[in-house]
């Protein structure tokens, strides 16, 4: 079991409020990801769940038990850190077993659990080594192993992939996904990388300035962003946000259209413009253009296209895929 409720969590340092009332429900076995720009409070929120930060008001409830004032070791959680945070003077085996040893478990049980975890993460050849003798990817696997060994109700990940290089990041991401499928454990994961969020999460929590902007599955956030912030944050390249007045449309303040939902043509279309820059990625071609009507917009075309800067083109939005936002930034229902 491992469900979590956050009840109007507030956290303030002096007068500076970092978390402004967070309510969240996480069901057993869910993979929940907190995303947001840096400084939005996502790491602080994770640390309050872990018990590493005290909350100013509110309650953290794990499996129906209020743990707001329980020390971290007794909350039944395990955490994986960005900097791995392995104990430098202990071997891989002792690193993984320390938590259980501190809790007074018998050696046979510790050995058993370490064996299972190291098998799962293919760490067997490294058990007697020290962290200094391991590569970055291996260290992060040891850190994950240390979490698995504790058999926690909640796994907490604090940007675990940020210190890895691009190739390892993809590989470790797949391993974490596989791990979640196998263990069926509840995982809470903090990242600023929306690709990680979209690929791993059952449920994404978008945070901004200490508040939750939207909670939903990756596709819900992509297809139905609740407000301008989520619309701009989820999706890469960013959604084009265009002033409705410029387009002569009424009933909304801002119109949003994703770059992949805009077509480009040399001969005809709705918005005439000039290409300012083109990025050829092979699978995609990203075209930046300055249009007369809609201003600067980004267009994402699939496959290879030979558009060049300074070329005059026409852009046409895919009608029906626009997002409409009111003047206070909230999304309006799709049909106008």
């Amino acid at each position: 079991m491992g469900n979590l409720q956050l009840k109007s969590i507030r956290k303030a340092y002096g007068t500076h409020e970092v978390l402004k009332g967070i309510d969240l429900d996480v069901k057993d076995g869910e993979f929940v990801i907190f995303v947001g720009p840096s400084g939005c409070g996502k790491s602080t929120l994770l640390r309050t769940i872990a018990g590493l930060e005290d909350i100013t008001s509110g309650a953290v409830v794990i499996d129906g038990q209020d743990v707001s004032v329980t020390p971290p070791a007794k909350r039944g959680i395990a955490m994986v850190f960005q900097s791995y945070a392995l104990y430098p003077h202990l071997t891989v085996r002792d690193n993984m077993g320390l938590g259980l040893k501190q809790a007074g478990n018998p050696k046979s049980l510790i050995d058993e659990r370490v064996k299972v975890a190291s098998g799962l993460l293919s760490l067997d050849p490294y058990l007697e080594r020290r962290p200094a003798e391991l590569s970055g990817g291996q260290r992060q696997r040891v850190a994950i192993g240390r979490a698995i060994v504790r058999e926690p109700k909640l796994f907490l990940f604090d940007e675990p992939l940020s210190n890895l290089d691009a190739a390892l990041r993809v590989q470790t991401r797949l391993e974490i996904a596989a791990l979640h499928r196998r263990l069926k454990a509840t995982m809470i994961y903090v990242t600023h990388d929306q690709v990680e969020a979209m690929t791993l999460a059952d449920k994404i929590v978008v945070l901004n300035a200490g508040q939750i902007e939207q909670v939903g599955s990756p596709m819900e956030l992509y297809n139905k962003p609740a407000n301008l912030f989520v619309a701009g944050f989820i999706g890469s390249p960013q959604m084009n946000l265009i002033d409705a007045d410029r387009l002569g449309l009424s009933g909304a303040k801002t119109i949003g259209i994703r770059p992949e939902h805009v077509g480009l043509s040399r001969t005809e279309g709705e918005w005439r413009g000039v290409i300012t820059h083109v990025e050829h990625l092979g699978a995609d071609t990203i075209v930046y253009l300055d249009t007369e009507k809609a201003g600067f917009i980004t267009v994402r075309l699939f496959g290879e296209h030979d558009f060049k800067p300074d070329e005059a083109v026409f852009a046409t939005p895919d009608h029906g895929r626009e997002h409409r936002f009111s003047s206070d930034g909230k999304a309006l229902s799709v049909t106008p």
Partner: protein, 279 residues
């Protein structure tokens, strides 16, 4: 040897400067040790020549080891120095940990207050300290010296160690807390091993003034039973109308223990074990 970054002339300058400094620093030490092996006449006649077979003499060492309780003095110095270093490192590190790790009201002020001792010499308070020691009946005990030296060493220790402890990864301490380590275990088992190089630095800076100090032993513990080496060496000056052989031999002998301690700590100075802890 060709070097891409530093020209040969610059390299030569650097070496000349270092060699000159080394000579200046080592000169008194070498002079002391050299002359301690010479006859009294020769010490005065030609102080700069090394001991020759004709001038070689161990009289000084015989006097030192024969007269007075020189081993006792050594023991006193060692006890005082080691006990003081231990207290300075332990309490200094604890204070530094609290200052660097915990948020509390007056943290910054407390840090400044603890560092104040770096600027104000403890000798200014000698009379007060003496009165206090008399009142506590600690005069002529080694405890009085250990207490004073601990107070003298703490400011620098707190200052240096708290700076170093700020560099210890927060994640590591958090990981320890999640694994159920107590704050003491985090301090002793995670943080202290990582700041070992800084501890060695502090130990060296603390040790040398204590070992060489004449002032406080003379005032607080001049009794025969509690004399330190430096004070013991002074007795040869008064007692035998300056027996230079004995004084130089005593000083030569006094150099060795501190040299050994220095070598022990300096190995730690160089070795850092943080590698692999984070990134």
């Amino acid at each position: 040897m060709a070097n891409a970054r530093i020209s040969r002339t610059r390299l030569a300058f650097v070496h000349v400067a270092l060699i000159v400094y080394t000579i200046i620093a080592l000169f008194p030490v070498v002079l002391t040790i050299m002359n301690s092996f010479k006859t009294r006449n020769d010490i005065f006649r030609s102080p700069l020549t090394p001991p020759l077979p004709s001038t070689f003499s161990l009289t000084g060492y015989y006097t030192v080891l024969g007269q007075g309780d020189f081993f006792g003095y050594f023991q006193n110095s060692l006890i005082v120095t080691v006990a003081s270093i231990f207290c300075v490192l332990l309490f200094g590190a604890m204070a530094a940990f609290a200052l660097s790790e915990y948020r509390f009201r007056g943290n910054l002020l407390m840090g400044l207050y603890l560092a104040l001792g770096i600027m104000i010499p403890i000798r200014l308070g000698t009379i007060g300290i003496l009165q206090e020691m008399v009142a506590l009946h600690l005069v002529n005990t080694l405890v009085s010296l250990v207490l004073v030296y601990t107070a003298q060493g703490l400011p620098l220790a707190v200052f240096i160690l708290s700076e170093f402890m700020r560099t210890v990864s927060d994640d590591l301490k958090s990981a320890g807390r999640i694994d159920g380590l107590s704050e003491y275990a985090i301090f002793f088992r995670l943080v202290l091993p990582l700041v070992r190089p800084a501890m060695a630095t502090v130990a060296v800076f603390t040790m040398i003034p204590i070992w060489n100090d004449l002032w406080f032993p003379l005032i607080l513990a001049p009794g025969e039973k509690t004399k330190t080496v430096t004070l013991g060496a002074q007795t040869f000056i008064g007692q035998f109308v300056t027996d230079w052989n004995a004084v130089l031999s005593a000083l030569s002998l006094a150099i060795f223990p501190v040299l050994v301690l220095y070598v022990l700590f300096s190995r730690q100075l160089i070795r850092g074990i943080t590698a692999g802890a984070v990134k």
